[in-house]
Symmetry: C2
Subunit: 502 residues, 2 copies
C-alpha cells in the first residue's frame, strides 16, 4: 500500500498549489477532475458527465425544497420579443448590454462558397428576439392572462432553464455566457406576502448551501446599487471562498409591482377593487459548482460533501492475480449490497486498465468522500483500509464493522466540512473602524470586512473605486449598532459586510 | 350525488367532440386541461405546471432507463458556430431552412425612440451562431478532444435540453419552434457496437411508450428518404392516434462514421491502427405529450395512465356544513396516509371556493385515474364512491377495503388502457394489395396500411404525392413475405407500414 500512496502523491502534484496561484488551481481542477471545459463557442462551457452528476444532485435537492414550499415547475420560451424585453425599463437597461439577439430564421447555401451556408437575407425577423438573460418579461406577459382575481393568486412557479448573458470575461462555472439555473417567479395579492416569499426562498437557499454544500452563508440584503435590475429589494446569500473573496451564491428579489405595471397585470382583490399584482423572482445557477469547488477543494483536487457526492464510497481492489481479484470481488459484493441497502451510492472500480495508484489519484482529484481499499493482507486479516478525502486520514477497519462505520462517518465528514468552512470564514471576518486598516485588511488578510457605512451610493462607489471592495450585503437577523462610516465618518446605523468578490 | 353528476356532464360538454373535429378537440383539451398554451413568441409554447408535471414524470422514467443502460448526462452549448454547423453536409442541409440565428450580442438605446432598444450595429458577431436544432455538430466537435484510444470508448452521453426548429405551422406539443427533448450521443469503437446501441435505445423507447404511456408502438426502420439528416439507418417507434393518423414517437440513429469524418474524430483501435469513431444519436421530445393526449383522451378530456399521472388519486369531500367537512377530513386523513404509504400520489381537494361538481369536471378534464368522493351518506355507511377515469365506471367501496382496491385497480387501469389502444391499432391496421383499396382505406377507414413496396424512392414519393401517406416504417422483428408492390406491381421483399402522419 505504501508504494501506491507514494505514486499517488506524485500524480497529485500536477495541480498548481492554491498558495501559488489560486485562479490557476481552480481552472486546472475543473478541467482535470472532468467537471467542465471550454467549448468552441466563446464563453460557453461543456459540462462533462462528472460535473453534471454533481449539478443533478444539487437540482434534485433544490427541486424537492421548492416543491415542499408549494412551488411547481413550468417552462417558458427561450426567446423574448424585443418589445416585451424593453417593457420594464430598469430590467431592460440592466441586461441590454449583454443580450444575444436572434435576427434571422433561416440559412441558405452560400452562392460564393461551395458547401458553405450563409444567413438568408430574406429570412429576417420582423421583430428581433432576445435570448433570455432572465425571464421576468416573458413570464409577466404570460401571467397577465392567468390572473383575474385574488383567487388566482398566489402563483408559485419555478423553471429550470438555460440563460445567456454575453459576458466579456468568462470562467468555467463562475461566469459563462450560457449557464444553467432555476428561476422562481411568483405572483401575490399583497406586498407583505411577496416580501415574505422573497425572504423564504432566500432562507431555502441558505438551508441548501449550509446543509448540502456544507458552505456557510451570510443572509443579507443588497444595497440599492447592487440590487437586481428591476427589484425593490434583493435578498442574498454570500459565501467566502478560500482566497478571501466573496461569492454571491443566490439571490431572491422582491419586485414590488414593477413588472405588473410594465405588463399591466391587475387583479380584483377581496374587496372587489382592482390592484396591480406583487412579484418576486429568485435564482441559483451552475455558479454554485464554482462555489462548491472553492469552498472545499485542496491541492489534491475536489473535496465533495457527502450530501452532494454522486459517488459517496469508492472501493478499489489491490491484487496481483486473477484469483486474488476474484476473492476480493466476492467480499466486495456483500459489502456493496450492505452499503446500498443503507441508501449510499457506491462504486466498485475493478477496471484492469488502470493501476490502483492511478485510481486513488483520480478519486482524490474527484473528491469522493470515502475510499475503501482491499488487498491480500486485508483479506487475511478480515479488514478494509478506509481513507477519508476531507482530512486525508486512513484507518484499518474490520470488515464486519465497515458498513456501520461509514454511515456515521459520512455525517461526521459533512459536519466537519461545514465547520472548517465556518471557522475559515470567522477567522477571515474582521471588524474595522478606519479606512487605512480597511485597505490593509483587504490587501493582506482578505475576507469579509464588517464596517460602518453612511448609507450613500457615493461612499459605496468611492470605496469600490479605491479598493475594489463592494458591499456584499447588509446582514439580516443581527442587531445593528450605530457608529461612524469607515470612509466618510458620517453617522451609520449599522455595520455592513464588504469584500472583493467573484 | 346524482345532481352533481348531471352538472358535471354539462360542464364537460364544452370540449368539441372528437368525432366533430379532432384537431379542435386536441387544441381545446391542451389549453383547458392547463397543460400548455401559445406564447407571445411565434410558434413557442408555455408549458403550464400541470403539463410540466406530466413531462417531469416522463423525464424521470426515461432518465432512470438511460442510466440503467449505462448512460450519463452532460450539457453542451445552446449555440453552434456556423462553421461547425455546416461541417456535416447532409445534417446541415436537413436543418438549414429552419435555423434561428444569433447575429448580435448587444442592444442599445434607440436614439429615435425614447425608452426603446435597438440592436447595436457595432455588436455584430464575427461568426453567426445557430441556435441548436440538434447537437451532433457541437458534440462531435467536442468528442474529438475526448477520444484518443479504444480505452476512451464507448462514450454514452445524454443531454436534456431545449432545441429550436423554425417550423412554419406549429401546434402545441406536436410541432413547436422551441421544444424540450433529450438527445443521446454515443461514440463507439465498432460498427456493430454502434448499431446495437441504436437498436437498444429504440427498444428502451418502445418499453417506455408501452409500459408507462400505455401506448403500443411498432418498432421499425425508416426508409432512406425518411431518415434523419446525416444518419445511415434510423430506428423508430410509430404509434397510431385515435384519428387514424400515425405519430413518430421516438427515433434512434446509426450515424456510421459521418460525424467522425466531418469532425476528424479518430481513435487508436486494439490493433494499434487509427480509425474513425462510430456514432449514434437518439431522442424523444415534448411531442410525446401530444401522443399521450391523442392515444387516450376522450370527449371529456385527458385520460392519464396511472404510471405517468402526477396525481393518481384525488379525493373530493361532499358536505353541507363545516361539521360534516371536519368529520370527512378526519376519515380522509387516515386514508391518505394509507395510500401514500403504498407509494401512491394522492390529492385531497377540500377547497371551499369550488363546488364538488366543478372539481369533478376539472379532474375528469385533467385525466386523474381515480376519483374518490365521500359524502354524509358514505360517512353513515362507512363507504367511499370510487370513480375510474378510463371507463367512467363507479362503485361503492367499503372504506376499509378502498386502499387495497386502489392498488390493484391502478395496475388494471394501466393494462386496460394499453389493451384498448392496442385493440384500436389492430382494428386500424389493414393489409392491402391493390392501390384502389389503398386509397379507399386511407380515406375511409384510416390507420396503418400494411402493403408491399418495391423499395424505390420514386414509388414512395409517388404514393405520398397521390395520397399524402408516407412509409412510417419497415417493421422489425417480423418475418417478411415477398409479394408485389401495391403501386408499381414490381417485386417486393416484404410489407411495410403506410399511413398519413403527424
Amino acid at each position: 500500500m505504501h508504494n501506491i500512496c507514494a505514486k499517488l502523491h506524485n500524480m497529485s502534484k500536477n495541480l498548481t498549489p492554491r498558495s501559488e496561484d489560486y485562479s490557476k488551481w481552480y481552472n486546472e481542477l475543473v478541467v482535470r477532475a472532468d467537471m467542465a471545459e471550454n467549448s468552441a463557442v466563446r464563453g460557453c462551457m461543456v459540462i462533462k458527465p462528472y460535473g453534471f452528476a454533481i449539478w443533478e444532485k444539487m437540482q434534485a435537492e433544490l427541486d424537492r425544497m421548492f416543491k415542499e414550499t408549494g412551488h411547481q415547475n413550468a417552462y417558458f420560451p427561450l426567446f423574448i420579443p424585443k418589445s416585451l424585453f424593453e417593457a420594464e425599463e430598469k430590467n431592460a437597461e440592466g441586461f441590454a448590454k449583454e443580450c444575444a439577439v436572434v435576427t434571422h430564421y433561416r440559412l441558405e447555401n452560400d452562392p460564393d462558397h461551395e458547401g458553405k451556408l450563409r444567413v438568408d437575407p430574406e429570412a429576417k425577423l420582423e421583430e428581433e428576439l432576445v435570448v433570455r438573460p432572465t425571464s421576468e418579461a416573458i413570464i409577466w406577459n404570460t401571467y397577465r392572462n392567468w390572473i383575474q382575481s385574488y383567487r388566482d393568486l398566489p402563483i408559485l412557479v419555478n423553471q429550470w432553464a438555460n440563460v445567456v448573458r454575453w459576458e466579456m470575461r468568462t470562467r468555467l462555472f463562475l461566469r459563462t455566457a450560457e449557464f444553467l439555473w432555476q428561476e422562481g417567479h411568483t405572483a401575490h395579492a399583497t406586498e407583505k406576502e411577496a416580501m415574505d416569499e422573497a425572504e423564504l426562498m432566500n432562507n431555502v437557499y441558505a438551508k441548501f448551501a449550509e446543509g448540502f454544500m456544507a458552505m456557510p452563508v451570510i443572509k443579507g440584503l443588497k444595497t440599492p446599487s447592487e440590487r437586481f435590475a428591476g427589484a425593490e429589494e434583493t435578498f442574498c446569500i454570500e459565501a467566502l471562498m478560500q482566497d478571501g473573496k466573496a461569492l454571491q451564491a443566490g439571490t431572491s428579489h422582491f419586485l414590488g409591482q414593477n413588472f405588473a405595471k410594465a405588463f399591466d397585470v391587475k387583479f380584483t382583490n377581496r374587496d372587489g377593487k382592482q390592484d396591480y399584482v406583487w412579484a418576486t423572482s429568485w435564482g441559483v445557477s451552475t455558479r454554485l459548482m464554482g462555489a462548491l469547488i472553492m469552498t472545499h477543494g485542496d491541492d489534491r483536487g475536489l473535496v465533495l460533501p457527502p450530501n452532494l457526492a454522486p459517488i459517496q464510497v469508492v472501493i478499489v481492489p489491490i491484487y496481483r492475480s486473477e484469483e486474488q481479484l476474484k476473492a476480493i470481488s466476492e467480499v466486495v459484493d456483500g459489502l456493496q449490497s450492505e452499503l446500498r441497502a443503507s441508501g449510499l451510492t457506491v462504486k466498485y472500480d475493478d477496471r484492469d486498465t488502470h493501476r490502483p495508484g492511478a485510481k486513488f489519484a483520480q478519486y482524490e482529484l474527484q473528491g469522493i468522500p470515502i475510499r475503501l481499499a482491499i488487498g491480500p493482507k486485508d483479506m487475511e486479516n478480515g479488514t478494509v483500509e478506509l481513507a477519508r478525502r476531507d482530512n486525508l486520514t486512513k484507518e484499518i477497519v474490520p470488515l464486519n464493522e465497515v458498513s456501520a462505520r461509514i454511515e456515521g462517518l459520512l455525517t461526521e465528514i459533512q459536519e466537519t466540512m461545514f465547520q472548517s468552512a465556518l471557522d475559515f470564514r470567522e477567522e477571515h471576518t474582521t471588524e474595522v473602524d478606519d479606512f487605512q486598516t480597511f485597505k490593509n485588511v483587504l490587501e493582506n488578510k482578505t475576507g469579509f470586512i464588517s464596517a460602518h457605512w453612511d448609507g450613500t451610493s457615493e461612499t459605496e462607489d468611492k470605496i469600490k473605486e479605491l479598493t475594489k471592495a463592494t458591499i456584499r450585503c447588509i446582514p439580516l437577523y443581527e442587531v445593528g449598532q450605530p457608529g461612524k462610516c469607515v470612509y466618510s465618518g458620517k453617522p451609520s446605523e449599522r455595520r455592513v459586510l464588504f469584500a472583493r468578490a467573484y
